[in-house]
Symmetry: C2
Subunit: 262 residues, 2 copies
Amino acid sequence: MAGNSRDPGRSVTARALSVLTAFDSDHTRLTLTAIARRAGIPLATAHRLVRELELWGALERDSDGRYAIGLRLWEIGQLAPVNSRLREIALPYLQELCQSTHDNVHLAVRDGMEVVYVEKLTTPRAVPIMSRSGGRLPLHSTSVGKVLLAHAPASVIHQYCERGLSRHTPYTITEPGRLGRELQVVRNRGFAQANEEMTLGSCSVAVPVHDVGGVVIAALGVVAHSVRAEVPKLVKTLLSAAEAIRQRLIEEERSSCDRLSR
Amino acid sequence: MAGNSRDPGRSVTARALSVLTAFDSDHTRLTLTAIARRAGIPLATAHRLVRELELWGALERDSDGRYAIGLRLWEIGQLAPVNSRLREIALPYLQELCQSTHDNVHLAVRDGMEVVYVEKLTTPRAVPIMSRSGGRLPLHSTSVGKVLLAHAPASVIHQYCERGLSRHTPYTITEPGRLGRELQVVRNRGFAQANEEMTLGSCSVAVPVHDVGGVVIAALGVVAHSVRAEVPKLVKTLLSAAEAIRQRLIEEERSSCDRLSR
């Protein structure tokens, strides 16, 4: 490793990245001392790294002297395919869904053993929920999570169940056998439901979003106070939005191939 | 543009960051060779840095072997105040605006001498435009840019004009004196207009978004084929959305102070 590291086990790059990892949704503004502590690096090292990261725009300092993630890092992050090739394409359909249902609308992907929320649209009438864009929740207690887990490789499902299924409400499915049967139902029916399994008083329905090759790349869901009465109608609306997104993904893929072959 | 030179004095952190800078909206997927070239670093160094960044999740490799910005970097970027304290708060109001105008709706901030688009909502009926979330455009040829420049420190306006005003259409204001008078009008009237000054066939209106302390922190704009006839109505709708966003920013600030003092 280049650089005169006093910690030969960790490269300079790894330590710079650990500074970024010190930030999470509960810690969006940190003092230098807090960064050093949370990143597990000496204060002097933190000072030097933070200065470099601030100069580049990965961090910014507010008037209190605390640091936050910088505009430039947000900008670079916007180039990630999850944003530029999925969120931006899906956004008009999410807006339409939100407008027609007046409920929370989610677009989510699976990262390892968790759901990552790519976008959340809401309206003043919608039920307050825990998700936020860039946030993570479990796979077994949310309807988008169930869709993503149901279409994951069998080895992922097995490994997920092995780790134990956390209980969030009395209605969370915590027995692997029951979850396995539920996921089979999700695959057969083409949609997933979660009834107060993550938060009491909030229910959800979700469908898969397929990419050009037919692989499930995301899940599209609606969260409401109660969905039981409206499930068939909601599923129909969601499926037609998911299909519209798939068509736009195909068009995008084609036009990007055209650009490359020119 | 990655204009980095092969500088042995550059720190490891700077070189790791230069790998990220190799990516931009026209270069979202790059081979290792392209990354090395655009970052201005030797291939072997690029190989090692890319591997570390990929392991952490800052980069991801697709099936063609090309690299893109990774999900984890996008997630960390979502923690930036511009997203978590501005975009997320403003989003429901942007949706409402988009729904009522059926046009493109923009939320933008100033970074140095450029407009950065924080969010863009659109509808199938809206005029196709160049902006994208995370994208940049000039300050003098867009209505959001004019709002942000009009409320920037005088030294910024002076420096901006000194650099020369790029022409994008025959209607772009390129004389500093005329721009100065236009910015005065923007401050007096409380809104800005741009009529085919960035792109022929697209016009826009924008208003400032003030923060808790009354400082202009963002601009909110609508872009349409033609806005002339509807300007007073559009301005009224935009101003009421900007005021609603300010109120929500105040509430957020209060509840975050409450959390800290608990």
